[in-house]
């Protein structure tokens, strides 16, 4: 993993032992439109990597090249050391694709859909039957296994859509906006599933335009816009990259002047502005520093009535990097 968030630079060196996916300088053009422009990143075992960007940013095109559905104009995708491409079969054994569309047959039952894709994955016999039942259990559809999927709710279809990607226990799970159009309950269930898969050691490539999902799920995030990977890193690294700091607002009474002076002396506090009985602090890593700040302010004679913490999020990072809002 990178130590710090970086403006996009290709991963260096050969795939490491922990790398399940290595993407290097990937580009794809459709006519005059450059859909993906020199994108590079890597995903390790047990890591969830998020591609965060608005609609049309190039996420799905990137995913299509990673899954070997379309050929890249330039650059390479390597899965478990195997070069990926539409005509290459071996690397596809290691991936499970969960497309944005509900890619399931409406006339077939949940079990028949799973069996169909299991056979395409090369599974058969009792192994396939057993895995189908396991997956039905995991996605909570065992009791609806015999029903045609056209009778399913949107959330159930989404779960089945994900279950198909898990059937053959891939080492890399690729999820393309899996929560689009899903009710909050099903959405939470999907996010919990992804978290548990990652914990179990699966590498996950997750695209979304929901900032909250990226913040909750992803160990590292690549911010993509107009086909370019603008930056990547952990959430905190990305925020630091933009120079944004956390803000703490202290409301109270007593000796706010002394409190202001005391707080400014703390290493985590970058700046303090006083406005009558309120102090506005610019702070590095507010969750860690808050206890010390409250103690110091109280010791200086300030009686606190209210404390509010505001942290910069990926929305503000995206705005800073691209000049536009994430949902534009």
């Amino acid at each position: 993993m990178t130590e710090h968030a970086t403006r996009h630079t290709p991963p260096e060196g050969p795939p490491g032992d922990g790398d399940v996916l290595l993407v290097t300088d990937l580009s794809r053009r459709f006519g005059d439109l450059i859909a993906v422009d020199g994108v590079s990143f890597r995903v390790g075992r047990g890591e969830t990597y998020g591609l965060l960007g608005p609609n049309g940013a190039g996420k799905t095109t990137t995913i299509s090249m990673v899954a070997g559905l379309i050929e890249a104009d330039a650059g390479t995708v390597t899965v478990k050391g195997h070069r990926m491409g539409p005509a290459r079969v071996e690397p596809k054994r290691h991936i499970g694709l969960v497309p944005q569309e509900l890619a399931i047959y409406p006339e077939l039952t949940a079990r028949e859909n799973l069996t169909f894709f299991g056979r395409l994955q090369g599974m058969s016999g009792t192994t396939l039957a057993s895995r189908v039942e396991d997956v039905l259990d995991v996605i909570g559809l065992s009791d609806r296994a015999k029903d045609p999927t056209k009778e399913f709710s949107g959330g159930m279809k989404r779960r089945l859509n994900i279950g198909i990607g898990l059937l053959h226990e891939p080492e890399l799970l690729i999820l393309d906006e899996p929560t689009v159009g899903v009710d909050p309950q099903s959405r939470n269930s999907i996010l919990e599933s992804v978290e548990s898969l990652s914990t179990a050691g699966m590498a996950v490539l997750y695209t979304t335009h929901y900032m909250e999902e990226a913040e909750r799920l992803c160990d590292r995030i690549g911010i993509i816009d107009s086909g370019l990977l603008q930056a990547e890193g952990t959430r905190d690294e990305l925020i630091r990259l933009t120079g944004d700091v956390d803000h703490i607002r202290l409301d109270g009474s007593g000796d706010t002047v002394a409190a202001e002076a005391a707080l400014l002396a703390l290493p985590a506090v970058e700046q303090v502005d006083r406005e009558r009985h309120t102090l506005h602090l610019a702070v590095h890593d507010a969750p860690t520093a808050i206890a010390e700040i409250v103690t110091e302010a109280t010791s200086a004679g300030m009686r606190l009535n209210d404390v509010q913490i505001t942290r910069p999020n990926l929305e503000s990072v995206f705005l800073r990097l691209t000049g536009k809002a994430l949902r534009d």
Partner: protein, 391 residues
């Protein structure tokens, strides 16, 4: 090969799972065969005569004569028989007036009414009726002559009839064979009532159902199922071949169903089952190729269904799937052979009517195979393009 079979079997399963297909695939074709056979089909005998009026020795004697001549005879009420004649369900209506049987028994003149139908062989059957009645008349004349000549020696009518029967048994009476020299009548002679309609409906429905089924291909593309299949460890060729094989399986299933059901329910004779099956397999491949092409070129399922049904009906109408090719003009019949239906029609006709061998139908099979190859190649190429475009 396993991925190909998996995709193909799934396509067939989806086809069978669609409840709207129950009527159009299983019931409608048989209904049409039944209706067409009832309305226009031949009986397989030398003709049909319906007798109305007074029953008795005369009616029985005429029936026996006609049956001996290979005519199918049935009876009914006056209006019923007239209705059968007007609808073409019988070739000739014969009406026996009240008192005719008594007159016949007492050797008095009898006047019968005959109403021929409008179909081509009605005149020939009418002639058969005349022959049968004439034979009865001759028989009576012979008995009268013997009684008149031998009355003095105690020969009565009963003795005369017994003696004549003994004589008839020792000689081969001259037979009258009426042969319809009309080309169309000759072509259809010997065909069962449902035979012609069954093969025509097979061609119509195999092609129609295949084209209408192209919508499932569009759906699989639109839903991203084909794209998802391509992310599994199978080649693009295997997935596309599976889609083509699926459409072929649907076409062959529809045709085999019509063949077996009409043979069992209506006694349709399909000739050599191997050859008929071979024609179905090759025609099914043409239909599958056309369905692949339509499903790849169109993006809207409703529009594809409409276009598919339209094309299917037009080609069937032009190619003998609705009206027998034999009644077409020579020019139109030549034009008809731009359709695969016409070639398959010819092959079925040769097998069913002329007991053709494999060598006899090789030209038809060759043309159909060439059409299938071209359409399957075009359809697969177009599908590959449309799938790539969608990703």
């Amino acid at each position: 090969m396993r991925p190909v079979i998996t995709v193909a079997a799934t396509e067939l399963r989806r086809f069978l799972r669609d409840r709207s297909n129950i009527f159009f695939v299983f019931i409608f074709p048989l209904l049409l065969v039944l209706v067409l056979g009832s309305q226009f089909g031949g009986s397989g005998s030398s003709g049909r005569v319906s007798i109305a009026g007074e029953s008795g020795p005369l009616e029985q004697a005429i029936s026996a004569q006609l049956t001996d001549a290979g005519i199918t005879v049935d009876t009914g009420g006056h209006d019923e028989v007239l209705d059968r004649v007007s609808r073409g369900r019988t070739d000739v209506g014969l009406f026996i007036p009240a008192g005719a049987n008594a007159a016949y028994g007492s050797d008095e003149p009898v006047r019968l009414e005959v109403v021929p139908g409008s179909q081509s062989n009605a005149i020939a059957v009418q002639q058969q009726v005349r022959g049968a009645v004439g034979a009865l008349d001759l028989d009576r004349a012979r008995v009268r002559a013997l009684v008149a000549e031998g009355g003095d020696r105690g020969v009565d009518a009963s003795t005369a009839r017994t003696a004549l029967a003994a004589v008839d048994a020792q000689v081969t009476p001259p037979s009258l064979r009426i042969e319809d020299v009309d080309e169309i009548a000759q072509e259809f002679s010997g065909l069962g009532r449902f035979d012609l309609g069954a093969s025509s409906q097979l061609l119509l429905f195999v092609f129609l159902i295949s084209l209408a089924g192209s919508t499932t291909l569009i759906q699989a593309r639109r839903l991203g199922i084909i794209a998802r299949a391509l992310s599994t460890p199978v080649s693009t060729g295997q997935v596309l071949l599976g889609e083509a094989a699926g459409r072929w399986a649907i076409a062959v299933f529809q045709g085999a169903y019509i063949m077996i059901a009409t043979a069992l329910l209506f006694g349709v004779r399909w000739g050599d089952p191997f050859l008929s099956g071979l024609v179905l397999l090759v025609f099914g491949a043409v239909s599958a190729g056309a369905a692949m092409l339509l499903g790849a070129l169109m993006d809207n399922e409703a529009a594809a269904s409409g276009v598919g049904i339209g094309i299917g009906l037009v080609l069937a109408g032009l190619g003998g799937g609705m009206v027998p090719l034999e009644i077409f003009t020579d020019t139109l019949r030549t034009v008809a052979h731009v359709t695969p239906h016409a070639w398959a029609y010819d092959a079925f006709a040769a097998i069913q009517r002329h007991h053709a061998s494999l060598v006899d139908i090789l030209p038809e099979l060759g043309v159909l195979a060439a059409m299938a190859l071209v359409l399957l190649a075009l359809g697969t190429w177009a599908l590959r393009r449309s799938v790539a475009r969608a990703m």
